[in-house]
Subunit: 196 residues, 2 copies
DNA sequence: CCAAAAAACTAATAAGTGTTAGTTTTGTTT
DNA sequence: AAACAAAACTAACACTTATTAGTTTTTTGG
């Protein structure tokens, strides 16, 4: 019978997780059924349980894969010996790249995390809050160093994070605008504004 | 027995819709059950159907109430005889005000629209696309008029819309930062940047 | 205060949910 | 080719879902 193809992945679990991310993205976690997920893979629903523990485990894997990617990248950037402005730019660019390359997973982590079960839900939110805090701290340092304008650092930080998060709307318009233009123009907008 | 209170609203249907918005926001549309909604109102689930047509009708009402509010406000601003920079600022401020005043409904319209049934789904998306287009057009005009920097107008427009959309993250931090500070700092950031 | 309308209730239905048990098929190793 | 492990299958269970039908209670208006 039909067999789950590992494609470019090494394990079948990863293949399932990837399909799950795509399905959770389009239908939402709650509205996505295991039978539907199985069908996209070419298998009956119970067969999935030879490879995964539960539906919610799939969500956990997706959410924490994304969260860990952002957290570890932030740590790497923090260690660099660059100006704070350069660090902020690097972070923004990383968000953009992640959104373009791992869209399904990032989208699910951003939209469906609320369906995580405890204690994963709390862990996820703590990790995200910590990320925001470190990013805001970076901006605060930038203000003290005179690299950034004097304004509420929280507003600045969250505005930037919100803006890059909104890149999910771009999936449709991808063709019209190159990733490079998008990246450069957005970074420039968020750092230098648009008013003449 | 318990009675559905119209509270400040005139009709009971509006009271139900408002509670539904709050529930859909916290649990998500699919995961929110009619029994749960009924409980928050103090009534049995089937009783709701004396006032509403279906669960999905509630979602329609919420989504289009929000969409129409934004669309009509945009039309009003377009008619004004102001500079384009002032118009853009007004639009940003309106988004911020809507987010602070009608948080539940705006949140649901932004997050749960995908569960709309046809033809409402298509209608909603068309309306939103039209809104974006008109906003981007405004920015394009601003560039031609020399009021705004020369950059991709689509990137500028969507960056702004994404940033204000992200105000939903602020619900938690409301206490620490006044709405006025938030509004002014965000407008300033999006128009003038943050780099020194 | 009684009749009509509005809105609550209980009971039930048909469909769909994630998941388990038990069995058969497939793939691999000796 | 025989044996063993991996992974598919079918059947089923225990719940939950939105919604309808039919009935009783509550509210309204003359």
């Amino acid at each position: 019978m039909a067999k789950i193809k590992p494609e470019k992945n090494n394990s079948k679990k990863e293949a399932i997780t990837q399909k799950a991310a795509a399905l959770f993205k389009t239908k939402g976690y709650s509205a996505a059924s295991m039978r539907e997920l199985a069908e996209t893979i070419g298998v009956e629903a119970p067969s999935l349980y030879n490879h995964i523990g539960s539906k919610s485990e799939l969500l956990q894997i997706i959410c924490f894969k994304v969260a860990n990617a952002f957290t570890s990248q932030l740590a790497a950037i923090e260690k660099n010996n660059e100006s704070i402005l350069a660090k902020a730019e690097n972070i923004i660019r990383f968000h953009i790249v992640m959104m373009l390359n791992d869209f399904d997973e990032v989208y699910v982590a951003n939209h469906e995390w609320k369906h995580l079960e405890e204690p994963y839900l709390s862990d996820f939110l703590n990790q995200r809050r910590a990320y925001e805090k470190r990013f805001v701290q970076l901006i605060e340092d930038g203000i003290k160093a005179g690299e950034l304008k004097r304004s509420d650092p929280y507003v600045m930080g969250l505005t930037i994070l919100s803006a890059v998060r909104g890149l999910e709307f771009w999936q449709h318009h991808k063709k019209n605008i190159s990733a490079e233009t998008l990246e450069n123009d957005m970074v420039n907008h968020l750092l230098n504004g648009i008013a003449n």
